[in-house]
């Protein structure tokens, strides 16, 4: 697989799995022994837990749209700098739904093996997300 092929696999993850909510496509796009280095609470390795993670995101946020801002690939790694916009329609990780909108940025690092997603790290501006949803105070409002 070339780096360009790997980029194409990763783009399908954002365009089809996340944006079109086609979670079952992961059966084709990810390996069975998928390794998650930055798991959601309770998430283990493996394809089933990856699907549960995406289902959790889709269940919490609708609409949810990822925009790919940049893709950088070298060897078997593909880095995606993205922004996303969504509405907290279902509540995230046990919090009640706020109905509020958010727009945040993040960076994912994927490992692609044999045209399938195999490993993942990420950093997401979740502080901004929680502030925008009103789940934690803005810094100015937080009393010392």
């Amino acid at each position: 697989m070339s780096e360009q092929d790997n980029k194409a696999v990763v783009r399908r993850y954002y365009d089809e799995v996340l944006n079109q909510r086609n979670i079952d496509l992961l059966d084709e796009l990810a390996v069975e022994d998928y390794v998650e280095h930055d798991p959601f609470p309770g998430q283990g390795n493996g394809l089933a837990d990856l699907k549960a993670r995406v289902a959790g995101l889709c269940g919490a946020f609708n609409p949810l749209h990822f925009t790919i801002e940049d893709v950088i690939a070298e060897g078997d790694k593909v880095v995606v700098r993205w922004t996303n916009a969504g509405t907290d329609s279902g509540g995230f990780m046990g919090t009640p739904a706020t109905g509020k909108e958010f727009g945040i940025a993040g960076i994912d690092i994927h490992v692609v093996r044999g045209a399938r997603l195999a490993e993942h790290w990420h950093v997401v501006d979740q502080l901004a997300q929680m502030q925008q949803l009103g789940l934690i105070p803005q810094p100015e409002a937080a009393g010392a």
């Binding site: 780096e3 280095h37 930055d38 609470p41 940049d70 950088i72 690939a73 070298e74 060897g75 790694k77 880095v79 700098r81 940025a105 960076i107 690092i109 790290w121 990420h122 950093v123 997401v124 501006d125 979740q126 502080l127 929680m130 934690i136 810094p139 937080a142 010392a144």
Partner: protein, 156 residues
């Protein structure tokens, strides 16, 4: 500049220059019109603004950076890193952050900062998760804490 040379600049920036607090070295590896796409509030433009930014980090947290991985293509270098430090402000608590940084490189100097690198800090009193202790608050941090990192004791 080759991709490997670009990677070396970023590794030197993170692990040598920042960890040794060598602000003068930034004159060599950062372009004067450096563009920060994820500037701190009140950060000035260019290289001078970057110096202001890192000096603020040094004072606030006395951080130590570790680079875990580097991926590069064209003139963009991505570093997966973590840092740990002590918040030396009014509250004396530990913080740890992980981040991905994307820096654009032209001719061996750092010219742009494309990424942002901020995540929830661990156990900073301003943002305590409701009714959460340290163990629980670590769970809201996306990313890895440095190997062996432990929260310092209260009042250290």
């Amino acid at each position: 500049m080759t991709i490997e040379a670009n990677k070396a600049v970023i590794r030197r920036y993170k692990e040598e220059i920042l960890n040794s607090r060598d602000l003068a070295a930034l004159d060599v590896i950062v372009s004067e019109d450096y563009l920060d796409h994820a500037a701190f509030p009140k950060q000035g433009p260019g290289r001078a603004g970057l110096k202001q930014r890192v000096a603020y980090l040094f004072d606030a947290f006395d951080p130590h950076w570790t680079v875990h991985d580097i991926v590069a293509e064209r003139d963009i270098v991505v570093a997966r890193w973590s840092h740990s430090g002590i918040h030396r402000g009014e509250f004396l608590r530990a913080v740890a952050a992980t981040g991905c940084a994307a820096g654009g490189l032209v001719g061996g100097t750092l010219t742009e900062w494309l990424g942002w690198a901020s995540v929830l800090y661990v156990n900073v009193p301003i943002y305590p998760p409701p009714d959460a202790g340290i163990e629980e608050s670590r769970m809201v941090v996306y990313g890895q804490l440095p190997d062996g990192w432990e929260p310092p004791r209260e009042g250290r």
